[in-house]
Symmetry: C2
Subunit: 377 residues, 2 copies
């Protein structure tokens, strides 16, 4: 741990990086996956389970938390770490993405975004300064600039406008954040699927000398190939000595391919959301527990896993829980999925250290491709 | 533990009994509360949590399990203990109560009950013999006779008819159950709110020399005073050397007053169901976490509890989880509630051993009456 936010690259293998972020609340081993704790809870999980899986940092959603229970309330209760009983690092997004996807009546102006809460209908205004203020009230260790993220495909003109606005907001967020040695404010590269816009955004942000850089506005409807092309262009344009965070991504395969292109941090609702919908991520690929083939299957999801949810419960039982809508089904599958994601990250980190990242990726992909165990009978 | 199902009364204090049931899968300390594991899961709980609270036995619902995943399937998967990962004693009800309350098109004849599944609409027939067969397939340690339980108030004629039918079914269940030394089949006293019918039922069942006796058909709409009056009449008519189980009861206060009248075992969905609806049972009474008074309250539900859910999470956080519909809210409050119920049972058992049951009941009731902590000002 450290009084200052620092990032070190410990090893590289191709463009893949094995690194370490240190800050007062803990150390983040990268490549890192951040489970999403939308409203101050990683859904259907106890925080001690989340930690025990090897989680160094979780993500909180500014939009959700500002509306309920409210940023000032969280601050008066000792901050988000105390409130949610997670004493380790927390990254908060800026709120911008959810304003665009969840709120009604949103209106974007130079000054910020005005929107109506999806919880109680109240009108809120969020400027870059207010976003940083809220993230400060939450006491987030890594805070994100307010940006405008648009869905793809979109006209180039529109992508460029949002990217330029996001750059101006980055400057304002940097000023609002000021000098906080133990924390960091990350800028967000925008520019949609246009490489030249991405490069312009990355260069302008790099010039601001921020403590970390995110790539935003991907995994918003474009094919994986487009996302990877953008990463190939963008990562080299970002400072090598700063962490790189790919926002909202993704599938296990997205993660492998993005690490291969130089990404250090990820967050995604996929493992938690899929778990609540009866889907399990495993080393043999994705398994749909709703499928009747599991109804009489006494085998666990993965007999070799360290996670009790994967190792100790029969598929027949999981199938039954999912079909019956029992809470325990979502609890166990979320646990399994986060365990799988975190074991994948540990696997990736070890492979980079050993200089066999590419080989390991091929092995992992091969095991996925072989698919699930044959059905019994 | 023992190869045989046995019951011993270890101490008495007034009519309250401190006892012990032993059987191959474990020992049940009585008075005992059995958490309800309707469909093979105590809702929103991991079984190791349920066990750690001091739970010696859980209840499974025959009706739910026979419909989904199916009794034959559970048997082929190694029985309910293996399926649900609970290696300790399990009591199953007969299925009769849920047939009456959940199924459509139910028709009761001498032979049994025909009904339509609420899950898939299929028609099923359950005879006393089939109920015992199903409970055997589930491998339940304590099995219940099929009975007819009717809602109160009801005409005496109707109550008497159902009670007499239940007695004939008890005989058939006894024959179907046969000789299983490590397990038990309990008879169920019926007779509604009519003391003379209850006595006739209790005497007829006592003559059958069963291994245990339940009092059924209470907590079905009648005032508490009626329930207690029935218990006062019924318990003395039951053999003193057999356990007495009050089905589907109840509030913490119901439990205290029923133990005082000679009851040894309880089951109820109240702690688990209330937990999913934002209600917490505590030594200071019932607390509604939906109430806005908790929104800014950093205090836990009960700083003196051994249960992390009661001791470590702020009321503000619990309020937030409940208001936001987060799964963790139901998980924590269910955990708190079962912890409270089991600590109450341990408290009762200790008080009977010490010969101060009445005094302890008065203290507990006084603490409930003082109510919750004053709101923060």
């Amino acid at each position: 741990m450290s009084d200052h936010f620092t990032f070190r690259v410990l090893a590289t293998d191709g463009l893949a990086r094995r690194g370490e972020i240190t800050m007062p609340r803990g150390t983040i081993r990268t490549p890192a996956f951040m489970p999403v704790g939308t409203a101050g809870t990683v859904k259907a999980m106890y925080m001690d389970q989340v930690r025990a899986l090897g989680t160094d940092i979780i993500l909180g959603n500014t939009y959700h938390l500002m509306l309920r229970p409210g940023a000032e309330r969280v601050a008066s209760l000792g901050g988000l770490h105390e409130f949610a009983r997670w004493p380790y690092p927390i990254l908060t997004d800026s709120g911008g993405f959810q304003v665009m996807s969840l709120a009604a009546l949103r209106k974007i102006r130079e000054d910020g975004v005005t929107f109506r809460s999806h919880v109680d209908g109240k009108v809120h205004h969020m400027s870059p300064e207010r976003s940083i203020e809220i993230q400060g009230l939450l006491d987030a260790d890594i805070q994100m600039q307010l940006d405008e993220c648009i869905a793809l495909p979109a006209p180039e003109r529109e992508i460029e406008r949002a990217m330029e606005l996001s750059l101006r907001w980055a400057e304002r967020c940097k000023t609002a954040f000021g000098d906080q040695p133990g924390k960091a404010m990350f800028g967000i590269v925008q520019g949609g699927d246009k490489v030249h816009l991405r490069l312009r955004s990355a260069e302008a942000l790099a010039a601001m000398e921020l403590k970390g850089y995110a790539v935003g506005g991907l995994a918003v409807g474009e094919p994986q190939a487009v996302m990877l092309e953008i990463l190939e262009a963008t990562c080299p344009a970002l400072p090598a000595d700063k962490p790189r965070y790919l926002m909202g991504v993704g599938t296990p395969d997205d993660i492998l391919k993005s690490v291969a292109r130089g990404i250090d941090m990820f967050d995604c609702v996929m493992p938690t959301r899929a778990g609540r919908h009866g889907l399990a991520f495993t080393r043999r690929g994705k398994i749909n527990l709703k499928n009747a083939r599991h109804a009489d299957d006494p085998r666990p999801l993965d007999e070799e896993s360290d996670c009790p949810a994967a190792r100790d419960y029969s598929r027949a039982y999981l199938h039954h829980l999912v079909k019956s809508g029992e809470a325990l089904g979502g609890m166990l599958l979320t646990w399994n999925n986060l365990a799988y994601y975190q074991s994948l990250m540990a696997d990736i980190r070890a492979a980079i250290e050993q200089g066999r990242f590419k080989e390991r990726v091929a092995e992992i992909q091969e095991e996925w491709a072989r698919g699930d165990l044959p059905a019994l009978g």
